[in-house]
């Protein structure tokens, strides 16, 4: 029977299946971090269970770690306890851990791909909703809660109800200055934050195939912002070339076997999706969010919308609340909105290509006096690579701050936070109320828009420079 890509991967991982029960799915890779794992390890200890497959498990420290003075003990004792707990748990249960200061430490979704342990056709989970990032490789990857983390640690499986499938066809060619971030923000604005609930999204079409692996990761990363637990892209030559030279890539005969399997990983021509939508890439513009959920976005050339124009009462109420929280007035051109902070980083846009793109714009220029620019590489390895290319100098010479790797201001768990009413242009993934610090206001943008905004001090695209 014809299958979609997601259905093929699902079928290849079914351990057991029975009528009126969830399928029991095998998990190929379990990524761990300090925030969502301590209670799961506690559960194992209470039940006297080991980690079933430490060799399919890997941990890193990212959410709660400082990005300054990483050679010093973590200053906040509660944060320190959480990180120390991860270290103790990994030691006790034999789990590989990349700690702060290690050259492979970084945001869990940056680390997996750069080590080459993220490969096509795998099932990948992590106690983090942005696990969908790994879908860029044609893997079925999704975020789980702590109960499920414990379940995977104990059994290397998860009982799951099969999701529906949705095709998102992005056809055409992106204009200069329009990026993968703008594609996904436009998709979320179109289908809404609940549009993907119950679905696995498959991003398809010429504009997706033209993206680099890092661009594809940005798209898949924000699937959860459209409500979908997972989003994926069929692997192709771009994928294979990216994986080939990574440390954990299959070698020799294993590579040949892997490649021939990976080449079967595409949606069959006559397979049927439960839902399909189409986006015209030719028409896309740099995008920015104006509200407090990622679906509240518009092309940067637009004005702040008027809630009175929205017919749905729930959406209208949400828009009114969002404008109040964001301190914005309907009708204001988005490009006139001044920001205080630029955050360049996160599992969405903290990879080397993101830093290169921003540095290209900032090279030889100064950021506006009114803004601070925080550049946080997605991993220690990205940081080292950027330094080898001199990108750190570009950011520092422009007046920015060059930090160590971690989630940082994306979720405001470590000391990198907005103050109340501070406004950020952020390359991260969530503009929720208080996400980047209590009372802070977030506009989600691409690295290009972030860099241009840093120079002008108001929301801007590179074409405004």
């Amino acid at each position: 029977m014809s299958k979609t890509l997601a259905e093929k991967i699902w079928a290849d991982h079914i351990v057991s299946s029975a009528a009126d029960e969830p399928d029991l799915l095998y998990i190929d890779l379990h990524l761990i971090h300090e925030v969502t794992s301590p209670q799961a390890f506690d559960g194992l200890r209470l039940a006297g269970r080991p980690v079933r497959r430490p060799d399919l498990t890997i941990a890193t420290e990212d959410h709660n770690v400082p990005t300054l003075n990483i050679d010093q003990p973590i200053a906040d004792p509660v944060s320190k306890l959480q990180v120390d707990t991860l270290r103790a748990n990994c030691k006790e249960f034999g789990v590989r851990l990349h700690s702060l200061g290690d050259s492979q430490q970084g945001i869990v979704h940056v680390v997996g791909p750069q080590l080459g342990i993220t490969q096509p056709g795998m099932t990948i989970v992590c106690g983090d909703s942005h696990t969908s990032t790994h879908g860029a490789f044609g893997a079925l990857a999704f975020g789980i809660g702590t109960s499920e983390v414990e379940h995977v640690l104990a059994t290397q499986t998860l009982p799951l109800i099969r999701p529906k499938t949705m095709a998102i066809n992005v056809e055409g060619t992106l204009k200069t200055g329009v990026t993968s971030k703008d594609i996904i923000l436009a998709i979320i604005a179109k289908i809404g934050t609940g549009g993907g609930q119950g679905y696995v999204l498959e991003y398809r079409g010429s504009a997706i195939r033209a993206l680099s692996m890092e661009g594809r990761m940005t798209v898949c990363n924000m699937s959860i912002e459209a409500g979908a637990r997972a989003g994926l892209i069929a692997p192709d030559e771009t994928t294979f070339a990216y994986v080939k030279d990574k440390p954990h890539a299959p070698q020799g005969a294993d590579w040949d076997a892997a490649l021939s399997y990976w080449k079967t990983l595409h949606t069959d021509a006559d397979a049927v999706f439960d839902k399909e939508i189409t986006i015209n890439a030719d028409e896309l513009e740099p995008f920015v969010t104006w509200g407090t959920n990622p679906g509240q976005g518009l092309p940067l050339n637009s004005n702040v919308p008027n809630p009175a124009d929205i017919t749905d009462p729930e959406e209208r109420g949400a828009a009114e609340r969002a404008l109040t929280y964001m301190g914005l007035t309907a009708g204001t051109p988005l490009k006139s909105v001044a920001v205080d902070t630029i955050f360049l980083g996160s599992c969405t846009n903290g990879r080397i290509e993101d830093l290169r793109a921003a540095a290209d714009i900032l090279k030889g220029k100064k950021i506006a006096d009114s803004v601070r620019l925080l550049v946080v590489p997605g991993s220690a390895k990205v940081r080292l690579q950027a330094e080898a290319e001199g990108l750190d100098k570009v950011f520092l010479d422009a007046g920015g701050e060059w930090r160590n790797a971690g989630c940082s201001m994306c979720l405001g768990m470590n000391p990198d936070q907005l103050k109340p009413q501070e406004r950020a242009a952020s390359t991260s993934n969530r503009n929720f109320e208080g996400r980047q610090g209590k009372g802070g206001r977030t506009h989600l943008v691409s690295p290009l828009v972030a860099a241009a905004t840093a120079i002008r001090g108001t929301l801007s695209s590179p074409s405004d420079l």
Binding site: V15, S16, D20, L24, Y26, D28, V35, T36, P38, Q39, A47, R49, D55, L56, N64, D76, V78, S79, Q82, R96, Q119, G127, S129, I144, G145, T146, S147, E148, H151, A154, T155, Q156, T193, G194, Q197, I224, E225, G227, A228, R229, P247, H248, P250, D254, W255, A257, A258, Y261, N293, E314, G317, A318, R321, L411, G412, R430, F432, E433, G434, G439
Partner: protein, 199 residues
């Protein structure tokens, strides 16, 4: 996990849509390494507002949260479920839940019930006109009863059975562990391993 068959209590109307898990509990409250004590962070940004529904004394002791659509979007933090449970909630009603939040709630024993938005609106109005009105959420009969109204809801039979029996998912999977071993025996050799560490 405690068994959930039926629950009767009073409710709080939360007239907001898209209440994401950062609103339910912000990241700065996620540093604890236990499953308790998260009630302090529940809706923390809104708790300083005396007009926020949770702060209204008429709703003291409520155990059922009646929320707007798309409740629990965003982060996968199960701390959001624990915060609601630590505060005393047993049930959340909404017309739409985010997938991960709903999954987490079903693992942790917080019942999430989906009702049409029109029913949610009606329940909101009934609570607002009588904050002490009693609501019964009956998982066995698959309905929510308030006043003379009965709202039927759907839930898959497997999850319902597991919640009603208070069964731990891991224990259930352990009964199939030989099938897991058999599956592992057939996995392709080219699949990556994290150990030994290659860099």
């Amino acid at each position: 996990m405690d068994k959930f068959v039926t629950h009767t209590g009073t409710a709080i109307p939360l007239r907001r849509s898209n209440v994401d898990t950062d609103q339910i509990i912000p990241a700065v409250y996620l540093k604890r390494v236990t499953k308790s004590g998260f009630e302090d962070g529940l809706f923390s940004a809104w708790r300083s507002d005396p007009e926020f529904v949770l702060n209204k004394p008429v709703y003291n002791g409520a155990t059922i949260l009646v929320a707007g659509p798309d409740f629990g979007t965003g982060s996968s933090r199960e701390h959001a479920v624990w915060a609601l449970q630590n505060y005393g909630f047993k049930v959340v009603l909404s017309s739409r839940f985010a997938d991960i939040f709903r999954g987490n709630s079903q693992k942790a024993g917080l019942l999430t019930v989906i009702l049409p938005q029109a029913a949610i609106e009606e329940i909101w109005q009934m609570i607002e006109s009588d904050p002490q009105i009693s609501i019964t959420v009956d998982l066995e009969a698959k309905n929510v009863r308030i006043g003379s109204k009965i709202h039927a809801f759907q839930i898959d039979d497997y999850t319902r059975w597991r919640l009603m029996e208070g069964l731990d998912d891991i224990g259930l999977t352990m009964k199939k562990i030989e099938e897991v071993s058999a599956f592992e025996g057939k996995r392709a050799d080219f699949k990556p391993k994290t150990l030994p560490a290659l860099q």
